[in-house]
Amino acid sequence: MSLRIEHLKLQLAGVSLQVTWSFDQPVTGLYAPSGSGKTTLLEIIAGLRKPDAGVIYLAGKKLDDVSQRIHLPPNKRHMGYVPQDLALFPHLNASQNLHYGVQPADDFQSEWLEKIIHTLELSPLLHRNSQKLSGGEKQRLALGRALLTRPKLLILDEPLSSLDERLKNRIIQYLIRIRNEFHIPMIYVSHHKDEHHLLCDELLTIEDGLLKPHPIN
């Protein structure tokens, strides 16, 4: 992964972040207590929130540079972001949700779509109401929707937190397939070290607002 964050600072009510880190591993896990600023950091990386200071690069391209007033909007960052609540569009069916990120001008390859549908086993879901899908089905749909845009970085914010153990084990197999078959770098946030152990190449934590390495085992 080639995400680099330099001297990033953000001060919000209850959250204070100071981050300098180069994300070099294919999958980076983030493990930190609630309220430590994990989601805030992910929102900054995805462009949904502006930092107070700092610079962010992805694949050598500058996404944010506060001192130079550079802030690339979320739609130009090529990042897939799957939040904890999945944020499926309630007025769209499963197929419309999946295809939402497809640009009319894209040189869209059906092979990519088929690979996603096949890998995440989405075929049986496509004509259903997105709000009537089960937790695991919604999870796969949100993952597929983010993957379909061919992101340069996939951000997963506690994607399994609302699932029971059986479903968790099933979805984690899909995530492992994404890691192995799609080769898209990921930032994976979870409170569960066993998930990090299965998926991640490095693990980070946030302590007193600072991003630090954390033992993965």
């Binding site: 462009g47 979320p74 739609n75 972001y81 609540d85 944020a87 007025h91 845009t149």
Partner: protein, 224 residues
């Protein structure tokens, strides 16, 4: 009052109210969205100015309109002298008065409707590669739809019942500017109470239907 005159009054009120809401709709959508989603200098001032017709006596708003749109007013005078276009005391003045009086109500309803759309969904839509305009038309607007229709029904009902501003800027010209509320007033003044009660019944019926639609959609919107 003949049945034909009554129908003419009802028809004038219905189309004037509908046209007024239709004309203010694009501006109210833009303003409501800006109020709901953006921070900008002068926001409080604009909010206060837009809300003024809600709290000012309607005849005062009507007087402002008359001074602006009358033949000797800055806008009305310019239109009259350059284009021969007359607004005050015509059906155009009725539509403008109804629009101005409904404007703050519609802005407030639409603002609430947009505020109820989760910002998170709009943000995720942006990360999926779409610009703000596309996200507005494919996420914000569809999700605010019920609130928007409820707001339109409420604004329409408000326009239907408008009296003070309309009488000031449009006068009471039978068949031209006499809306339901103006006609009711005129009929009572001239001792035709029976006819006034008939128009009252029509007013109540239309206003009840518009409010029922608005409330039904608002209640459905409020459900989890």
């Amino acid at each position: 009052m003949t049945n034909g005159e009554m129908l003419q009054t009802i028809w004038l009120t219905l189309w004037s109210s509908a046209l007024a809401v239709l004309l203010i709709f694009p501006a109210t959508v833009c303003l409501a969205w800006l109020m709901a989603r953006k921070q900008w200098p002068g926001k409080t001032l604009v909010d206060t100015l837009v809300s003024l017709p809600l709290v000012l006596p309607p005849v005062a708003t009507g007087l402002v309109l008359l001074k602006m749109l009358g033949r000797r007013g800055p806008l009305g005078g310019w239109l009259y002298h350059n284009w021969g276009f007359e607004i005050a005391f015509t059906s155009k003045a009725v539509v403008i008065a109804l629009g101005i009086m409904s404007f703050p109500l519609l802005v407030r309803s639409l603002r609430t409707a947009f505020e109820e759309v989760p910002v998170r969904l709009e943000g995720i839509a942006r990360t999926l590669g779409h610009g703000p305009a596309y996200v507005f038309f494919t996420v914000s607007l569809p999700l605010a739809k019920r609130g928007i229709i409820a707001g339109i029904a409420l604004a329409f009902a408000r326009a239907m019942g408008e009296f003070g501003a309309t009488i000031m800027v449009a006068g009471m010209i039978a068949g031209e500017t006499n809306t339901l509320s103006l006609s009711i007033y005129q009929l009572v003044q001239t001792g035709h109470d029976q006819d006034a009660i008939k128009l009252l019944a029509v007013s109540v019926m239309i206003a009840f239907m518009a409010l029922a639609i608005s409330n039904k959609l608002s209640n459905r919107k409020a459900r989890p």
